[in-house]
Symmetry: C2
Subunit: 263 residues, 2 copies
DNA sequence: AAGTGGTCTAGACCACTTT
DNA sequence: AAGTGGTCTAGACCACTTC
C-alpha cells in the first residue's frame, strides 16, 4: 500500500468494532479491485460510457483511481467474464452492446435441430399500455397498477411461426415505445431498448415448463390444439440488478430445441 | 523469463516456420499459464489427485513447474471458474467432487415452484446391458453395437413421481454397474460414478423440448395421456471433454420448473 | 507460529492495432 | 513508433486455518 493514502478505503473493517475485541461488527470489508469494479459499473450505469464505446485504458483508470494497473485489470477481468465489457487486444476495452453478432444469441437459446442459428422475422401483434398486474409488478419491483407497456409478437424462422411472446416493460422507462418504432427498428429488440431507451440488459433468469397450446396459441403458431409448447418465463435485469423486463415466451419445439450448457 | 531455461516451452511458435518468413506456420502458441493448467488437468485425469483430495499448494506447484506463483495462480483461477477445483482460503485447493451439497444441484436444474430444493427419492426401474444404437454411439463417441449399460429410473419429490430418466453409459468404463449397486448407493448418482468408476463429470450439454406423454410415461409418472412434459437430452463429459453419459429425462412441470440463468 | 489462498504493487516484456 | 491489452515475475502484506 506504500505511504500514499489511497482514495478508496482498503479496509473498511478497520473502522468497525475498535473497542470490542470479542464481538466485532460485521466486517463490510471488500477488496480494492471490487471497489474499483463497483465504481466502473457506476459509470456504466450513469451513461458516462455508452454501450459500444471505448472506456479509458487500464493505465488511465489506474491513474484516476490511484491504484496499480494490476488492480484495475482484475476489476475489468471480472466485468469481462460477466459480459459487461469486451476486451480487444491492441484496441482497448469496450462497453458490451446488443448490437453485435456475438450478443444476438446470448438471450435466445432456441436453436434449429439442423442447420445454423439465424435471426428470425418478428411480427408485432399488439402493443398497448396497461396497469401492472400483481405478478408483473412484483417481478418488475414496481407498484401494482403502475403503468406498463405490453407487447405481443410472433417470431418466425424460415417463414415458420415458432415463438409467441408477451412482454411487459415499466412504462416509466420505456415511455414512448410504440408498435411503429418496434416494427421500423432493424435488429434485435434489446438493441432498440439500449439505443432508444438507455437500458442495457446484462442478465436474465428463466423458468421453463412444458404447457399445452390454447386456442390463441394454436391460431398464432399454427399448431394443433394442446400441442406441447415450451413455456419460458424470463425476468431481465440492467445494471445494479434492477429488473426491467418480464417476458413470457411459448416455443414450438418440433424443429427447434432450447440449448443449455451446464458448467 | 530471466536466464533459466523453463521446462515448459514459453513460445511454441519459435519452433515453427524457421525458414519461411512470409507464410509462417499456424502459431500453436499458448501462454505459460495455459500449459500449466493443461498439466494440472492431466494429473486430475490420471487420478494423481482424486476428487475431494487436496492438491499441492501454489508455491509447491510453482516450484515443480519452475514458474512463478502468479502463473500457477492464474492457471488455478481458471480451473476454479470451471468448477474443476475448489479453493478454500487457509486450507488449500481441492479437486471438485459430486459428494458435496453445492454440487448436487449443478446438474439438476428442476426446482419446486414453492419451497426449497431438496434431493428426491430414486426408484430404479431397469438396468441392462445392450448394444449402442447409432445415435447413442455417435453421442458417446464409441462404435455402433459397442456394449452400453442402460438404466431407467423414476425420481420423486415428496412422494410425487416427477422425473423419468433413461441413461446410457459406455460398458467399458462402467463395467460391473448393476441395479443393486445403484439401489444400495446413498447419494447422487454422479457421486457413485466418481467413486466407484473413477469418472468425474465436469460439464454437460442439454437440449430441451416439450413433448406429449406416451403410454409408458403416463403409467410411471402418473399423468394423463398426452400431458406436456419437458424433454431434457443430456450429454455429459469428463476430463478432456470426453463424452461418457447420454441421458434423456422427462420432467413433470406442473409443480416444478427448469431454472436457468442467462449471463 | 507456520502454512494456505487472497490482494496489491511495480516493472518487464510480448502481441496486436493504429498512426 | 506509440498505445492498447496479455503474460510473467518477484515480493510484500492480509485473512483464514491449523498446529
Amino acid at each position: 500500500m506504500s505511504s500514499n493514502p489511497p482514495p478508496v478505503s482498503n479496509n473498511a473493517a478497520a473502522v468497525a468494532g475498535a473497542g470490542s475485541a470479542v464481538t466485532a461488527a460485521a466486517p463490510t470489508f471488500s477488496p480494492l479491485y471490487q471497489q474499483i469494479k463497483a465504481l466502473i459499473i457506476q459509470s456504466l450505469q450513469s451513461g458516462e460510457w455508452k454501450p459500444g464505446e471505448l472506456i479509458p485504458s487500464e493505465v488511465e483508470l489506474a491513474n484516476r483511481f490511484k491504484v496499480s494497473q494490476g488492480t484495475v485489470r482484475k476489476a475489468i477481468d471480472e466485468m469481462s467474464a460477466e459480459n459487461l465489457v469486451v476486451r480487444r487486444q491492441g484496441k482497448g476495452t469496450f462497453v458490451a452492446t446488443h448490437h453485435e453478432a456475438r450478443a444476438h444469441f446470448r438471450f435466445l437459446r432456441l436453436m434449429p435441430d439442423i442447420g445454423e442459428a439465424h435471426a428470425g422475422e418478428s411480427r408485432i401483434i399488439e402493443v398497448k399500455r396497461l396497469r401492472a398486474s400483481a405478478d408483473v409488478a412484483r417481478l418488475l419491483d414496481i407498484k401494482s397498477a403502475d403503468s406498463v407497456i405490453f407487447i405481443k409478437r410472433v417470431m418466425s424462422f424460415d417463414g415458420v411461426p415458432t415463438i409467441l411472446e408477451e412482454i411487459w416493460l415499466p412504462g416509466i422507462i420505456f415511455k414512448g415505445l410504440t408498435a411503429e418504432r418496434l416494427i421500423d427498428y432493424k435488429g434485435p429488440m434489446y438493441g432498440l431498448f439500449e439505443t432508444e431507451f438507455g437500458t442495457h440488459m446484462i442478465h436474465a433468469a428463466e423458468k421453463i415448463r412444458a404447457v399445452p397450446a390454447g386456442a390463441e396459441e394454436c391460431a398464432l403458431l399454427q399448431v394443433a390444439d394442446a400441442t406441447p409448447l415450451l413455456s419460458v418465463e424470463r425476468v431481465s435485469f440492467t445494471y445494479g440488478n434492477k429488473p426491467v423486463e418480464v417476458r413470457r415466451g411459448l416455443y414450438v419445439t418440433d424443429r427447434h430445441h432450447y440449448q443449455n450448457e451446464l458448467n
